[in-house]
Symmetry: C2
Subunit: 714 residues, 2 copies
């Protein structure tokens, strides 16, 4: 075991030197090769340097926290990642070491604290992993030097795998630095290349700064000259009302008041999730605080120091929220964490800029210390530490911007976190480099998780606006979302759209006041009918279906997965504006209802569309007996059905047709004529309209729906 | 109640006059209208005349036997039939009386004796039905006189409905005459227009006549000038060895010896079905025999007469078989009923001809009596009564000829009897007219059923050859039969054929000795591969599937239904010869087998095709690990699969792909490369071949199968 005196660590500053970031628009291929060579190899070196803080086998092989692998895994993982992604873009055709690459493939990130990892691993020796890393380094350098390269460097470029690998490694340099900080102190050692900040003093007084109302426009274009992870691309805009924000990050000193006030023990300051975590963790103060008798110390990456009260408090999101609730009570103000949009407004109100010639005016890029520093050390306009020092929790669960799509070689980078349980952190920390250090980067962690992260609070009465990030995965709903709003397969035109057009055409110059789509499912025909009708009501028995239509009408992007093969999925999204239907939303309504027992309010329509409905009703004749009552005189009933009678939907004795009756074949069409004849005349001949429902990438239902038009004449 | 003296009935003979039959090739439309007018109206009159034998309400409304409706039903039914069929061919657009037509629509024919009808009907008054019949008569005559008519008179002609209606009515004149014969004697009366034969004497001695070996060619062409029911069309040929046949029908006198010998009580003479019927019916002698003290009488249609021992015995098929078994025991010969083919040979050996100018030389066409007559009354060459007098049971369960198809307006005339339980009767009876009286008509009844039918026995050691008539209705088997041998849907080429061609093309100039189709289902690819390979083995886990391939290889026509809508079906058939595959049958074998545990014998192949197999195996990796052992060096493995992994077929932990593995998307194709790499090289790029499986007329599975070719190199 090795312990190093704190004093030793205060010099020399910044020995670890890393290129800050990589320009993807470097003029010519040779220039790009040179830049990437440096970006890659210095990152690889940095990992080596970081892991030299591990002082014994236990440091490598014992898990610092039960929720993650031991550090040996991450040491190999960042190398294996290159091999995996290079295989996917076919820059290489063979693995280097299938055994090690299997061991190092799956990162265990962010497991829930109540979902303990009990897997057993037979970890290889450090030397073997070092040797493997050397081979990966040689391989990647060989590629960088000699592999064919065609610019531009965009998502489709096979070299994207290398850039992604470097950015991935930089993330792990940061997360490993956290794990080292969580490792037992006696197993790690300080290194001069990883110096802690020497400055420590009482906490400064925080204050509030006015942030004026403003417009936020987020999301990078796909031809951005900076690398991005999938969720950074696309488009998001919002108008943010004025609010106030703390000038400084909350310091250990400011946070101490909360601890002293019994904040950890007072349930009123904690939300339900916070209470569950607090009780599980038996937390009484920030995780890196160490009480020694009457004194507080702070655990840094490789050492413990007497508490630097003017450094930022490092807490998880749940603690940060509890602090804000306490602060609200203390101040009588509405104190809370900022949203992502509000953080961007704080950034816009600051004067933060990165000067390419000078050390960053922020505790960022490893350009100052291997630790936080005083919260008032880096002034960026009216604020300090808008970027750098430690990350800042936001109230925003991560969500995809408009136009979000997954990268083909890393489709699960972000999508698993679209679950309303991962909140964005902003601003970067002292160890953030590359993409991490970009103000538009969008990392998110479970709210109970620790990073080098703290908080800046805001005061605002504006409600917290969260964007929906949920991906609908219910198989039937997703099949119908794709059926109504997704791709066309087998050259078959969109069915609910085609039906609506057919119905509108059949209306001719007739009245266009009011239409109903009965059995509307996820609602495409409702919106299509509203291109023509003044009001359209969509009714379906399934609230799960209706919910999708309601969300679309609200202007939301509805996200859903479709099955690719087995459990693999593709990520899809639908939005009215993309279909030219945004204008129709004001004219539609959705209701849950039963076509066999329809509420009296649903009446007076010029058109009723019932598409693929009748063979799913429990009593279709009951519906057909009453449907004339819901139509205006002269109104049109449009029926479409593949007549797929199944006992699971319709008891056998309620089928309309598809059996022998009085000795003759009795088809559903015969039944429709018999049941509707009293009030309707059939308009035109029946026609068959095809439709396709995708089940997997390789399997589809391909059906024909018989469409009949019925004019109410009596 | 009215009873008529027997003596009165013996004169005058033959007052009921009916046109014998209708020519469909009558030169011009007017001639056809005239012929049909007479054919229709005299048939309609004949029904009226027949029902005048009913003497009281009970005769109309009480069921003569529990298995059938009362006679009032049949009186209305034959009229309603015209309306129903005219609706279907759209010669009329509206019903005459929907209520009556619903009552009279469904004939209750041939229920099993252990399947009693307990339906309740509220039958209309005779006068009301008479009035309805008058309206139908007027309607049909109006059509015959004035409806547009275009010749030829074939299946597609809407007028076919009228001809069918007349032939249908003639059948019911015969079956109603049987029901009247089964009605209580005191409720019916004799009529001079329905005279019984007056001749009665002791039975003549029967003898055997040599029938030389010969060829039989049956089945009428679809452009035949005579009306036919669906099962008479098509083609059947057979070579029949020489045999002997009784010169005479078995007379009541000859049958009495069987009765006297205790034949009804001796289980040894009865087969299992016969025993069940005999015990249920408590039969001790033929059904129409009436014992009066020591005397036997015979129930005729409207009277009882002292037993005419020289008339034919009238029995069901089970009694006829029992008689033959007794006769075999008595004679030491192999006595049995003839097959349909043998009956045709007897006909060909006779000199039966219908003289259009003279009364028939047969007790047929109602041209002599309304009863049977002595079995030696009508000599037709070496035999008597080859046609006429009473029908003759055969050993042949009815079956469809090659080229069988159902008529669009009467698709259940024959198909419900393709169940191996309905045996053909041949030759017609005294009341048979029209199509019934044609030697090529093919009526079949349950073997326990009574008609005016008896038997002529044959002596032959040739086995009874039965054609398969079973329609496969198992949903999965029928879907696969249609998939492999049926129509092409959505412009998608036949999949098993396309795969076989693809495999053969990939073989190039390679060896063509031996191939295996593993997971061959109903076997189309097996036969297609045998166009190229000297031997092809088809293996499937499902014996139900294999059975279809075996039957096809044997040269059978395999018949199956496909779902149209709900419970309605279409009738389909497949035969190798129709697909140009007859030659391949000698080179194929089918085996039941498990791809995951394949018997050692299956080895040494130049090609193995596994189409849509791997995602249906319980352990696909096991199959892939061993498959190289079954191929010759240089041999080709062709895999095709839509990769539809489902836990119901393959446990989740046995899926080859379709999940995240080591953090990356792991597709089935990745797994194939990994599993097969040790012994195979992939030949060419994967390609996707579409296939369609029909579920109903409106619903299809439309999938893509990824095809990969693997050459065994190690």
């Amino acid at each position: 075991m090795n312990r190093t005196d704190t004093a030793v660590l205060q010099t020399p500053p910044r020995p670890v030197s890393l290129p800050r970031r990589l320009a993807l628009d470097a003029g010519d291929p040779q220039a790009f090769r040179r830049a990437l060579r440096s970006y890659f190899s210095e990152t690889f070196d940095c990992t080596e340097s970081l892991f030299r803080t591990l002082d014994c086998d236990e440091a490598w092989y014992q898990r610092p926290i039960t929720l993650r692998h031991p550090l040996i895994f991450y040491y190999g993982h960042v190398a294996t990642f290159f091999v995996n992604k290079l295989m996917l873009t076919r820059m290489i055709g063979e693995r280097l070491d299938p055994h090690l690459e299997s061991i190092f493939a799956v990162g265990v990130d962010e497991m829930s604290w109540d979902d303990l990892d009990d897997a057993h691993y037979d970890w290889p020796a450090v030397e073997r992993v070092q040797h493997y890393r050397d081979r990966v380094r040689s391989l990647v350098l060989e590629l960088i030097d000699h592999a064919p390269l065609a610019l531009p460097m965009d998502w489709e470029n096979p070299w994207w795998a290398i850039v992604m690998g470097v950015e991935h490694e930089r993330i792990h340099i940061e997360t490993s630095s956290v794990l080292i900080r969580q490792q037992r102190l006696e197993w790690v050692r300080s290194r001069p290349e990883w110096p802690a900040c020497p400055d420590s003093s009482p906490a400064p007084q925080n204050s509030l700064v006015e942030v004026p109302a403003g417009h936020v426009r987020l999301g990078k274009p796909f031809d951005s000259p900076r690398y991005g992870w999938d969720n950074e691309y696309g488009h998001h805009e919002a108008d943010i009302p004025a609010f106030e924000a703390a000038r400084l990050l909350v310091s250990n000193g400011e946070f101490l008041d909360f601890v002293k006030a019994g904040g950890y023990g007072n349930d009123a300051f904690w939300d339900e999730e916070g209470l569950r975590w607090r009780d599980f963790a038996q937390a009484e103060h920030p995780s890196f605080w160490v009480r020694k008798g009457a004194q507080w110390h702070l655990r840094l990456m490789t050492q413990e120091v007497p508490m630097p009260w003017n450094w930022p408090a490092e807490v998880n999101c749940l603690e940060a929220r509890a602090f804000c609730r306490w602060k609200s009570q203390e101040s009588g103000l509405t104190v809370r964490l900022p949203t992502e949009d509000e953080w961007q407004r704080i950034l816009a109100t600051s004067d933060w800029q990165l000067n390419e010639e000078l050390p960053a005016n922020a505790n960022l890029y490893l350009e100052h210390w291997a630790s936080p520093c005083p919260v008032d050390r880096f002034e960026q306009g009216a604020f300090c530490d808008v970027v750098g020092n430690v990350w800042q929790w936001t109230e925003t669960p991560t969500y995809p911007f408009e136009g979000f799509k997954t990268h083909p070689i890393y489709d699960d980078f972000t999508t698993p976190t679209f679950d309303e349980r991962h909140n964005l952190i902003k601003g970067g920390s002292w160890v953030s480099t590359g993409n991490e250090a970009e103000p538009d980067s969008r990392y998110a962690f479970r709210r109970h998780f620790f990073q080098h992260a703290g908080l800046r609070y805001v005061v605002s009465d504006a409600p917290i606006v969260s964007e929906a990030s949920h991906y609908e995965t219910d198989e039937l709903v997703t099949q119908y979302m794709e059926f109504h709003y997704g791709a066309e397969y087998w050259d078959t035109a969109n069915f609910p759209k085609a039906l609506a057009r057919l119905a509108i055409a059949a209306m001719g110059e007739g009245p266009r006041r009011s239409a109903m789509d009965l059995g509307c499912a996820v609602g495409r025909s409702v919106f299509e009918l509203a291109r023509h009708f003044e009001q359209v009501v969509g009714v379906d028995f399934s609230a799960r279906f209706i919910d999708q239509g309601v969300a679309l009408a609200r202007g939301d992007t509805v996200r859903y997965t479709v099955t690719d093969e087995g459990e693999l999925v593709e990520y899809k999204a639908a939005k009215l504006a993309d279909l030219g239907l945004a204008d129709t939303a004001a004219r539609v309504q959705f209701w849950q209802g039963d076509a066999c027992n329809l509420q009296p309010r649903f009446t007076g329509y010029d058109l009723i569309l019932a598409a693929n409905l009748i063979d799913r009703l429990y009593d279709p004749a009951r519906f057909l007996h009453m449907v004339h009552e819901r139509l205006n005189a002269g109104g049109l009933l449009v029926l479409a059905s593949p007549y797929t009678w199944l006992a699971e939907h319709t008891p056998r004795d309620k089928w309309l047709g598809g059996f022998k009756k009085d000795g003759e074949s009795w088809r559903t069409l015969d039944a429709l004529k018999a049941l509707l004849g009293a009030h309707f005349e059939m308009a035109g001949a029946p026609r068959e309209v095809p439709f396709v429902i995708r089940e997997t990438r390789h399997k589809f239902q391909h059906s024909l729906s018989e469409v009949t038009l019925w004019k109410r004449v009596r």
